[in-house]
Amino acid sequence: MSRQAFNNFMRIHEKDIVRELYDRLNQRPQSNYQDFFLRTEEGLQRLEIWVHLVINAIGSQAETLFRDQEKVAYTRAVEGFSFEDISHVYLIMHSILNDIIRKAGSMPPFHLHDVYSEMRENMFRGHHILATMFLKTREEVISEKMYHLKSLHDFTRAMIENLEVDEIAGMIVEKSRLLLKMDRSFMVLFQDHRVKGVFSHPAGTVDGEIFSLMERSYKAKKALFMDVEGNIHENIRLSRSMRIVTVPIQGHNRFYGILALLTNEQGKSLSFSQMDLLHQLLNVTAIAMENSYMFIELEERQKELRFLTEKLITLQEEERRQLAADIHDNLAQALTGMGYKIQVCRELINRNPKLLAEQLDNLTGIVDDATRQSRELMSSLRPDLLDDIGLVAALRKFIENFSRDTNIKIRTYLPRHIQLPSEIKICLFRVVQEALSNVYKHADSKTAELRITNTKGLIRLIVSDEGKGFRNVSRPSGMAGMNKMGLLAMQERVEAVGGNLSIDSRPGYGCRLRVSIPIK
């Protein structure tokens, strides 16, 4: 049989050979690479290509087989298959192919032996090339991985030490470009879904094309690739010749920004290992950003806490000042006046006994007034009434006095009796005191309403008036003006017992203050 006849024979039976190869390979114990050949579309194609190239190698086209083996070796090495596995599968295929040919040719004539040994030699050379390339590539991959690992390590260290969001963004823009050997890189930094800044390396402006790809990536929250023709892909394998890649940077529940990398190099693509590195870099960036925002939040919290503490101290001082003023305005002045009157009386003993009696009557009235004032002052300091007669009775008594002093009529809707912990009783009593005092001082209203309900473990208190009202704010801290302090103090009190206070008002529509406190 001539070389030509052998070739013809092989071509005619190419499909049968592939099928035979497939069946015999399938009977062998399985390995990863065998799986690839037998179970994937790509693997089956590779099987056909290999048989085809081996057949065509006889005569002139051996180089094509060798180059293909080289390519296969490179790809498989990068993909991470084991050398043993690949080598073993190819050797099995050699022996199966030999077997098939031996059987097909029944007894090899002498001249067929030449062709046959040429084919075997081609296969072995191909295998040798495959092995060399595989090991060489594996070394490169390892050294690249080492380099990436080291870069990633350095990057992570620098990132973790940094707490400035802008600096973190600057670093990822610079490092990703250098490590992936790209020409330019950009980042759009977001905060609360608004653009906070745009970064570029080297410095420059972002053109519309990159921006629109970044926007698509932002909406899809996915990495996107644009090839040289301007087609957009989600998968890098489909864009062999890549021009722009855009990747979102996101943490657990926050979105930080979009990174864009651009190359001007023709036919450039990113390897899996490079994409892997990019994702690692972005993960680290997201963590660094998360840290940074957490740090900022923590600082703000601390500031708020300091402010609250200061406010609390101010409120305490304010209460004390108010108390001192009350004592000065009422008791001290009354006592002073009485002192003068007593001196007058003393002088009158001899001068005018009739006038003395009149003055003493007058003095008794003043003493009675002062006694009442001191009692009020005391009960406002520590409403003992609360413990003695209970909240509802104490409130009724307070409201009776309040209405008499201010001429403001209060409609009350109170439960007959509520059993409450002491601190909640005091809190509610104080809030009613302060709220009604506000009605008197600011509301310009002749009526007000007090309502307390106790249902399902929740105490609700509402004080409302039909007065002039004010610009609505949900919480006293957002308020300006004279009665802010008192409202803040109320809020503090209510929050201290685990409750909630809100104010609802509009100019001309009165004011409604609500408190709710859960009872354990």
Binding site: Q333, A334, T336
Partner: protein, 218 residues
């Protein structure tokens, strides 16, 4: 003998009454006017009420007795002001003296003493309650520089009205409406107030007048 004409400035009715009765027990003192605030006092003086002596409380609604005293010393130098207060703080004493008060007496004063003090001040004397002289001696020893600087600038009656408006949180036009003045005039008053206080903003001015106790917060 001519009766000594006394005016009482105090915002407590019981004190006003008691004091008036106490002073008038003696035939040679006549209480010719009672005012409940610094503003009322200045209004009465403007209506030709002409007391020889004013007994002035320090802490009252609106402007303080010390600020009112400054104004009186400037406008009516012949009227002698005696501070009558329950406070004995050093700062009040030095401020009162700085404001031009001729006497500083605590409110627990006895009738005989008070009458003696009034007569003493009438004879161009001055009187400091023994309870507060200690702090003055201390201040003299330390030298005035060591003590807190005494605020010697005084406000005019109008300016005090404007200050009151500022502290109440009113806007320029609101103050103008209250005082029946033009907004322009109010602005120029505010400028003068800032200059006297050495401040450059409303909030600074309010803080300072409160700290200096020119006005009292309710």
């Amino acid at each position: 003998m001519k009766k000594t004409k006394v005016m009482i400035v105090d915002d407590h009715v019981i004190v006003q009454e008691g004091l008036k009765q106490l002073l008038e027990l003696d035939g040679d003192i006549e209480v010719i006017e009672i005012a409940s605030s610094g503003f009322e006092c200045m209004q009465a003086l403007a209506k030709k009420t002409n007391p020889d002596i004013i007994l002035m409380d320090i802490k009252m609604k609106d402007i303080s007795g010390i600020e009112t005293t400054k104004l009186i010393s400037k406008k009516y130098p012949n009227i002698r002001v005696i501070m009558l207060t329950i406070y004995t703080d050093d700062q009040y004493v030095t401020d009162a003296i700085g404001a031009g008060a001729k006497g500083f007496v605590t409110k627990d004063v006895k009738r005989d003493e008070l009458i003696k003090i009034i007569h003493h001040v009438m004879r161009d004397g001055s009187f400091l309650d023994p309870k507060v002289t200690g702090c003055i001696v201390d201040q003299v020893k330390k030298g005035t520089k060591a003590g807190r600087a005494v605020n010697t600038s005084y406000f005019t009656y109008r300016e005090l009205e404007v200050v009151k408006g500022l502290v109440a949180g009113h806007k320029d036009d609101e103050i103008a409406k209250l005082l029946h003045l033009s907004k322009h005039t109010i602005r120029s008053h505010i400028k003068n107030i800032f200059r006297k206080l050495g401040v450059s903003s409303r909030s600074q001015a309010i803080t300072k007048v409160i700290n200096l106790k020119v006005v009292n917060l309710e």
